[in-house]
Amino acid sequence: MDEFHTLQEFLLHSESVVYIIMGLSLPLFLWFWSFLTGRDKEFRK
C-alpha cells in the first residue's frame, strides 16, 4: 500500500489515477459504441 504523509499527497495520487481512468474511458467508450453498433447496417439491409 502506498504511504501518504499528507492529505495533499493522497489526493494528488488518487485524483491523478481518476483522471487517467477518465482519460482512458473516453476512447474506450467510442470503441465500445462502434462495437455495439458495428453490424447495424448489415441487419438493416
Binding site: 500500500m1 502506498d2 493522497f10 495520487h13 488518487s14 485524483e15 489515477v17 481518476v18 481512468i21 477518465m22 474511458s25 467508450f29 465500445f32 459504441w33 462495437f35 455495439l36 458495428g38 453490424r39 441487419f43
Partner: protein, 391 residues
C-alpha cells in the same frame, strides 16, 4: 360440453397452485407469529444487525427491480421512443406491484402498521434520508397507482375516469422520474451515514450515484427478463402489437443496458481510484468484489453487446437474468454481506428460516397478483375501445 361443465372440470391442484398454496400458508403463519410475538421471535436481527433481508432484499432489491416503470415510461413519453409503447403497461404494473409489496414488507420490519403515516403527520424529519426515501416511495407508489389505473379502469368499463387518468400520463411520468431519481439514489446515500461499517470496496461517496445508475440497469434488464418470462406464461394474452414489438424492444433495451453497464463499470473504477482501495482487491472481500464486478457488470455488459450485435435474442434473455442477479447481489453486498464486515463471525447476521419464508411469501404474492391482473386486464394487449388513444 357446456361452459359450466368446463368450469367444473378445472383442476385446482396444479403444481403452481400447490407450491404457492404451501408458501402462502407458511407466510400467513409466520406473519401471525411476527405480529403477535414480536420481531425477535421470527428474525435473527440484533442491535449489531438491525437490518436483515427484509430491508436488504425486500426493500433494496425490490425498489431497484421496480425501476422498469420509470425507465420505460420516460423512454416512451419523455424521449419519444414510441416503438416501445407496448412495454409501458407491463413495466408500470411490475413497478407498481414491486413498490406496493416493498411497503407491505416494510411493515414486517418496523411493526405497528397503523404508525406508518406518522412521519408525514406527527413530525417531518426533513434532515433524515429515511424520511426522504419514505416520502418519495409513498408519493411514487401513488404515481404508479395512477399510471396503472387506466388499465384497471378500461377493464372495469369506466370510460370517463379512464380518459381523465390517461390525460395525466405525461405529468405522472415526469413526477415518476423525479421521485425515482431522488429515492433510488437516497437508498445508496443511507449508507453514507455508516462509513466505518461498510467495507471500503463497497463504501464510496459516490454510493448515491451507483444506486441510481444501477437502478437504470435493473429497470432495463427487468423489462427484458419479465418480458421473456411473460412471453412463455402469457403468450395467449398478448396482442399483435406487443408480439411484433417484443424483439425490437429487447434489442433496444439490451443496447441501452450494455451502455449503462459500461458507464457503471467506469464510475465504479473511479470510486475505487478515488478511495485508493486497489490493495484491498487481493483480500477475501476483494475477490468477492471482483466476482461481482466481473461476473455481474462486465460480463452482462459484454454479453448484451454481443446479443445486440448478432441480433441474438436468447443471449439477451439469459443476460437479463444475469444482470438482475447482479443487482440482487450488489444490494445484498452493500446492505448485508459487506456491512458490519469487521464484526467477529459469531456476531454476523444470517437470516432465520422464518425471515426467508416472509421474503419468499412476498415474491410469491407479487407473482400471483401479476398473474391475476394480466389474465384479466389489458396489459399485454390494447383494449379495442381505446386503440387510438394509445398511439
Amino acid at each position: 360440453m357446456s361452459e359450466s361443465d368446463v368450469k367444473q372440470e378445472k383442476n385446482w391442484f396444479t403444481p403452481f397452485n400447490l407450491i404457492t398454496g404451501v408458501i402462502i400458508i407458511a407466510g400467513i403463519i409466520v406473519t401471525i407469529v411476527r405480529f403477535s410475538r414480536g420481531l425477535a421471535s421470527v428474525s435473527n436481527l440484533s442491535d449489531y444487525n438491525p437490518w436483515g433481508i427484509w430491508i436488504g432484499f425486500d426493500l433494496m432489491v425490490g425498489v431497484a427491480l421496480a425501476a422498469g416503470g420509470y425507465v420505460t415510461s420516460s423512454a416512451v413519453y419523455l424521449f419519444g421512443m414510441k416503438k416501445y409503447h407496448s412495454a409501458v403497461r407491463p413495466a408500470i404494473l411490475t413497478g407498481f406491484l414491486g413498490y406496493f409489496f416493498v411497503v407491505i414488507a416494510l411493515h414486517y420490519d418496523i411493526g405497528r402498521p397503523w404508525r406508518l403515516p406518522y412521519p408525514f403527520i406527527m413530525g417531518w424529519g426533513t434532515t433524515s434520508l429515511l424520511f426522504e426515501v419514505g416520502l418519495c416511495v409513498a408519493l411514487y407508489l401513488t404515481v404508479l397507482f395512477l399510471e396503472f389505473s387506466p388499465a384497471a379502469l378500461e377493464w372495469l368499463g369506466y370510460k370517463r375516469t379512464r380518459n381523465l387518468a390517461h390525460r395525466l400520463t405525461i405529468v405522472l411520468t415526469i413526477f415518476g422520474v423525479v421521485l425515482s431519481t431522488l429515492h433510488q439514489s437516497s437508498l445508496g446515500a443511507l449508507f453514507l451515514a455508516a462509513p466505518s461499517k461498510l467495507h471500503p470496496l463497497w463504501y464510496s461517496p459516490y454510493l448515491p450515484t451507483y444506486f441510481f445508475v444501477s437502478s437504470v440497469i435493473a429497470g432495463l434488464s427487468m423489462v427484458i427478463f419479465e418480458g421473456a418470462l411473460s412471453h412463455k406464461a402469457f403468450h395467449n394474452k398478448m396482442g399483435k402489437v406487443y408480439l411484433e414489438e417484443h424483439d425490437s424492444l429487447a434489442f433496444g433495451f439490451a443496447r441501452a443496458a450494455s451502455l449503462v453497464l459500461a458507464g457503471y463499470f467506469t464510475i465504479k473504477m473511479v470510486g475505487l481510484a478515488a478511495g485508493n482501495n486497489w490493495h484491498l482487491l487481493t483480500t477475501g472481500y476483494g475477490f468477492w468484489y471482483l466476482f461481482e464486478i466481473i461476473g455481474f457488470v462486465l460480463l452482462p455488459c459484454f454479453l448484451y453487446a454481443v446479443g445486440v450485435r448478432d441480433k441474438n435474442l436468447p443471449i439477451i434473455k439469459w443476460t437479463s437474468a444475469l444482470a438482475v442477479s447482479g443487482i440482487v447481489l450488489n444490494r445484498l453486498n452493500v446492505s448485508i454481506i459487506a456491512f458490519n464486515w469487521h464484526l467477529p463471525k459469531a456476531e454476523r447476521y444470517f437470516p432465520s428460516f422464518m425471515e426467508i419464508i416472509i421474503t419468499v411469501f412476498m415474491v410469491t404474492l407479487i407473482v400471483i397478483c401479476f398473474r391475476f391482473i394480466v389474465t384479466r386486464m389489458p396489459i399485454f394487449y390494447e383494449h379495442p375501445d381505446y386503440h387510438q388513444d394509445n398511439h
